[in-house]
Symmetry: C2
């Protein structure tokens, strides 16, 4: 059985939803960020990068959300979560998730994890101030260019959708009104009605 | 024919090498970062994110280096650049490239593009100071955990190799001696001897 190391409020939610959509048999293992469990020797043995998500499979551990999303899609092809055999369409899917990972998520992380990139408290404060502006700018681009609707890639629900839902879910804590981006807001609401998402949220609230 | 929008010194080199390794028919189109051509209306029509690489295909434009690397591998399967039909092995490949993209490249960008995440000159200076320390720490992890040798994934040369070669090529300008990481240094030298890499470097020097 797959084991997903995860923590509420992190990007592990995207993989959690994807596993649920795929009908995978998985176990959720919380990594308590509040007690810095991600830096414990036990967890570093699983993921030396001390991040979540990490997915333990029969063949070993996999990390990095975009890679895990494609892994879930490819491991459960009957769920149809990605255009696996169409290199162009798959690259569009992967490009969208990479943008969320390497640009949007990174921008958001400057609000609360600025210590990664600077030590001076004034520098960290300046990043914290600027982060929501960057995040909003990236969501403007998603709204204008990359959300075909009703799902990210158009008619087909893919691994882009739980990823966007997860990152859009952070807007509120960044002080950004999701309604500034009507297509993103409608997508977020649409996602919230999917049985897999409801099940995952109920599981996390339990 | 594929068109690769690129600029020397950027991550487009990884895709350039992959195209060459794949035996692809492609044209290189320089985007002159020195004159900010990546922000011109012409280029924004190609890639609204104003970054390179962008790859123009018969079906449209693709962006984001990790997505492009997998696209090249999947479009030219005879080149054997990725374990396309093995979800676990492909996820390992993609996780490595995602780490380079979202963690190592991002860390390096704080040295010379700190203005993305802060406005205060003192904050930007503090990021510039810390960036090489972060980059070195990430390369320590690659050295210890993720470079099987002789190639990143072991015996098989994959799309991880040109990506690592590209990012390792930035160590010098970050003031980091590549010899601190003996496996990375040997990999870098090994890459430099591949005919595809020699051809690409000659093309860029011309």
């Amino acid at each position: 059985m797959l084991k997903l190391y995860s923590f509420p409020g992190t990007v592990s939610l995207a993989v959690h939803i994807a596993l649920e959509e795929a009908g995978a048999d998985y176990e959720l293992v919380p990594v308590d960020f509040l007690t810095n469990a991600q830096r414990s020797p036990e967890y570093l043995a699983i993921n030396p990068k001390s991040r979540v998500p990490a997915l333990v499979t029969e063949r070993g551990v996999l990390t990095e959300a975009p890679a895990l999303m494609t892994y879930v899609a490819q491991s459960f092809p009957q769920a149809g979560l990605a255009p696996l055999d169409d290199p162009f369409a798959l690259a569009q899917v992967q490009a969208f998730n990479t943008y969320l990972c390497a640009t949007v998520h990174v921008a958001a992380a400057h609000r609360h994890r600025g210590y990664r990139w600077a030590d001076d408290p004034a520098a960290i404060a300046d990043m914290r101030r600027k982060a929501p502006l960057n995040v909003a700018e990236h969501f403007e681009l998603i709204e204008a260019e990359y959300l075909a609707g009703p799902w990210v890639m158009g008619q087909a629900y893919t691994i882009c959708d739980p990823y966007l839902y997860t990152v859009a879910g952070w807007l509120k804590r960044d002080g950004i009104e999701i309604d500034r981006f009507p297509k993103v807001a409608a997508h977020f609401a649409r996602m919230g009605e999917r049985p897999a998402v409801r099940k995952v949220l109920a599981q996390l609230a339990a």
